[in-house]
Symmetry: D2
């Protein structure tokens, strides 16, 4: 059986695992106060080119979205997001659970645009009754998006500019950030993100760690008593080392770039192969997720040998499926997959 079902099918990248093994019996202080957490944070700040950032390590993606959004919003504020955004649809109401509305914007290829955001803010503040409504309080984008697409630097600059005009912190969900940073079709660097976003996270779970997401707060915007709020959300690990050691490995000798490259290279071969075979793409993705329209009987056939994701019905006889590559994908498996298609 070939696995292209997602980018979190294996455990940890061997170098990450090795670091866990090597440090295992070291006696360390709890709750993220150990020196591996410290060095991991320093390495991340350096990679971001942002020495005055504050970094906090959390365990999973939905948890991170929930905590960042809940702690940065005032109680009367909601978060603006694409209606396809992960926080809008696939987090079981984790944002609303903490009392906040997701204010949905239309999307194109999973992305929102500056002009729609500007209109939302203008309409809101132009409404005499806006005090009876949920205030827009921050903006959530994912990069890569849920459809594998990427914002250009210009698009991010425009969004950031509207955000700053209306004092809306810009939050970038980077669960798969590494696969965006090494894409051949991006002009966005980690340093750009540190400049344009107020807060973003670098995903570990989908990029070679067993778990863990590194939240980067730029410009002194980490919420007050953040540790207490993390604990209150049930998200403070006693053995914070589990996160510190893994991110320490990820940001040593540019391992995160290495991890990203394998996913992108295997995805590129897959995309090229699919194109050659004449498959129709649901969306043009420059990252590790490829969305293809399959004829249903073809899809059923393929299921015998390959695990992949069912995205949505295309029409009565076709389905959109997703093939995902990762740090762990072997080129030979891509070739096998292509031979089956």
């Amino acid at each position: 059986m070939l696995y292209f079902v997602n980018d979190y099918s294996e455990g940890a990248h061997e170098k990450v695992l090795r670091h866990l093994i090597d440090t295992n019996m070291e006696q360390l202080s709890g709750y993220g106060t150990d020196h591996y957490c410290e060095t991991a944070k320093e390495k991340i700040k350096k990679a971001c080119g942002c020495e005055d950032a504050e970094v906090y390590l959390l365990t999973g993606g939905t948890q991170t979205n929930q905590i960042v959004i809940d702690t940065m919003l005032a109680p009367y504020e909601g978060v603006v997001a694409a209606h396809t955004g992960h926080v809008s649809t696939h987090e079981a109401g984790a944002i609303e659970f903490t009392g906040h509305k997701v204010l949905e914007l239309p999307e194109k290829n999973g992305k929102i645009c500056a002009s729609d955001l500007k209109e939302l803010a203008e309409t809101f503040y132009g409404d005499d009754n806006h005090e009876h409504m949920v205030f827009p309080g921050m903006v959530y984008i994912s990069h890569p998006t849920e459809y594998g697409t990427l914002y250009s630097k210009k698009e991010l600059e425009e969004l950031s500019s509207v955000c700053r005009k209306y004092k809306l912190p810009l939050f970038l969900d980077g669960a798969r950030l590494i696969y965006g940073l090494v894409s051949k079709e991006t002009d966005v660097t980690l340093q750009d993100l540190a400049e344009l976003c107020d807060v973003f996270y670098i995903g570990g779970t989908k990029a070679g760690t067993l778990c863990g997401e590194a939240v980067v707060f730029t410009g002194n915007c980490m919420p007050k008593h953040f540790l207490t709020r993390v604990k209150q959300h049930g998200a403070l690990l006693a053995k914070g080392r589990l996160l510190g050691v893994q991110f320490d490995a990820l940001f040593t000798d540019d391992l995160y770039l290495e991890i990203g490259k394998n996913a992108i290279e295997t995805a590129a071969v897959l995309k090229e192969g699919l194109k050659k075979k004449g498959y129709q793409f649901f969306i043009d993705s420059p990252t590790n997720q490829q969305f293809v329209v399959l004829e249903n009987s073809r899809m059923e056939e393929l299921k015998k040998d390959v695990q992949f994701g069912f995205w949505e019905k295309a029409d009565d006889s076709h389905t959109v499926v997703r093939f995902a590559t990762s740090w762990a994908t072997r080129m030979e498996d891509v070739q096998k997959l292509l031979s089956l298609l």
Copy 2:
């Protein structure tokens, strides 16, 4: 430097780590649906002698307390707990964060008793205005308690009996359960807990895993759509295998008992040694946490060589300190500690 500061200073027990290494590149389905989660759950049910139990693996202790309590209570109910209970004092308001009050009972040695619980229930239902008050909805106890003490089987039976009379699910926080089960001074088995409690958890974080707590719901009381609620709390791991593999190891060849025994044996030697040297105990603990009253200057001296926990001020010149042993404590370090005292 000697470490007796807590029972989560090291990473994972070597057999747990070994299992993570051995299974690392296996491609598994996400969100706790993999076969290691499955076998771990089966092994736990067997150890509990309760085939019809349902087991769910979560990441940390506060998270587990929050999710179990929030999902089992009706919105108009609160949880009854000792005023020294972890949920009452040391979880940053994680229970209240989900909308529920902690209804505090007096404690003795960290334990509540059946008669106080009965009185609380009787007073509540006897009050004509009880509909204007928070309904008692479940009972929380920790075993071992925050003071290392243990409930006897008789005490648990009495509590359970009152709970059943008033339809209050009994929830046992077993963050350190393993150290209670192997104590020389207990008559309580895992099977007893499965019979007397409606829900309890077997702690991993403080007993040899990197993270993880196994919640056991007996008698068909797992809340509906529990996975969705776990996700809503931000607590669903994409790589559920991280928990499954570790608990699979913990419940293979009775590793959890082996882990418990080392902690108890080293604690017993420490306790005996402290007694011989004439130290005064703050509380008589039969488990891996020992609470001793130290003269302040003595304590300052000791801090140069040993890390330990500061519990509370005893009087102006004395402090209660905690020495904790664990699966990882070496007997030679206990001897070194004793030689320093």
Copy 3:
């Protein structure tokens, strides 16, 4: 100055006020347990032709929406509503404040339709990942809608049928219900609502009381310990009589129908007059709210003599405005308004 700005500009209908005066010094028990609350409830049940309904009196509309939705939903559920629904947009996030998502449906003239609802439910349950999403838990409609429009009996039957298929309680917001019931263009009676809805409320605030909304739960669906939950939401009045006495008056000698008729008759004259004068209607409303497109300079002129509502910008030179009539509107004021237009 003429007032057509809303339907809650005056205090109480004189018969409602008279009942408050007459009963003022009577000594009554608190929290809604007095005999006026009792008789009001009985009269409402009788008017609904539903003796086994349960009625509960609350103070305001947003409060009622929040409490009904929060107490009837399970924590993992959201409420389905039109994206123009009051709960979606104009309640400052009161639904999300209690932890629930509003699942928005497209609307036509402020109404949702059975086929869109069916599609939402089918798509949800057809999605293999639906356990990672918010469950649809109930359906909210307003009648009249925020645009003054009405559901036909057939439309309600279709919605109700889909709701029952998917076990989704149907909740009807009747803040202006009386103005719908007496509309010349409706075939829906109070008895129909009691049959087709699981819960609905009969608005008082916009129909002649100082405050108050009467929630009708049919088919035994009032949430358990509802009084406690009302109190927990901060909504339990010590002097429940304030609500009981007013609704007792409203449902004595069909006062509520009398109140409705005045609003509808004055609105009909206004609508007819506006039509004759060639004004363009934004929407065709058969109730007490009339939405008209005014040229901006015309609108500015009118503001000197009349208070009315600004709904939304139509284009750069035109605005949609709202004229509302009520139980208190005098026909002579309608004539004056028409003479100014």
Copy 4:
């Protein structure tokens, strides 16, 4: 039947009712923006001797406690209160419903003291692990307390001083404030409260209005976008006039003092009469609530002719009962009650 069961058995004081009648058909703007709300607020500020205060009118007591506490606390903070405080016990968990813990202090006669508060704050900040705990965020006291007792000016000054040292806003629940202000045994004025408290409310419901509590924020501490948060809590009345008109009446020609005096004078005669007859008082109350210990058979006898409150069991044969007077209590009824005792 004589009514001494509480202080909210009647409707409104005749002057309050008269003002509602006189203003009933005036067409006013909604949501508390009308001129009666405005003048009521001005009169209250003047009575408090605090021109820069901000006043907000809400509907009921639990609602007011919930909204003030929730909006003034940071999410990681709890409210300190006596364990007998209304927010601790008799509000169905309304505080916890909004995510905040009530941090209980011991009480004496329903009151907390500055030294206990200071110890709580010192212990909290002295604990190295305080970031794992709920931060004390404000202090709640009731005046008169739930037992009818009063703080002296000195006691309030001491509490206020500790509060200011630890930056804890002091919030005074004045549901029965008027009955405290006119007590013969108080040295506390409304102006004192405005100086010593950061926020307090002047109760209307128990002092002659149909509903309504006037919250006074001193020193510029009204939370941002307070109207939006009130709406979000479901507490914004469309007809805000209902509150404005009533408080306008209450603060015209010192009606609130007149109302207070009747309650205090009747209570004084009752207290004196009870003393003479040798009844034992549960607590020495200088306000309108008198708590007396009755022999159970005596109590049963009395129930035939009088409604009164059952407070708590004193011993197996005695019960603590409460007799409450109010603005509406007639001296002749007090005499009748005494003749029955």
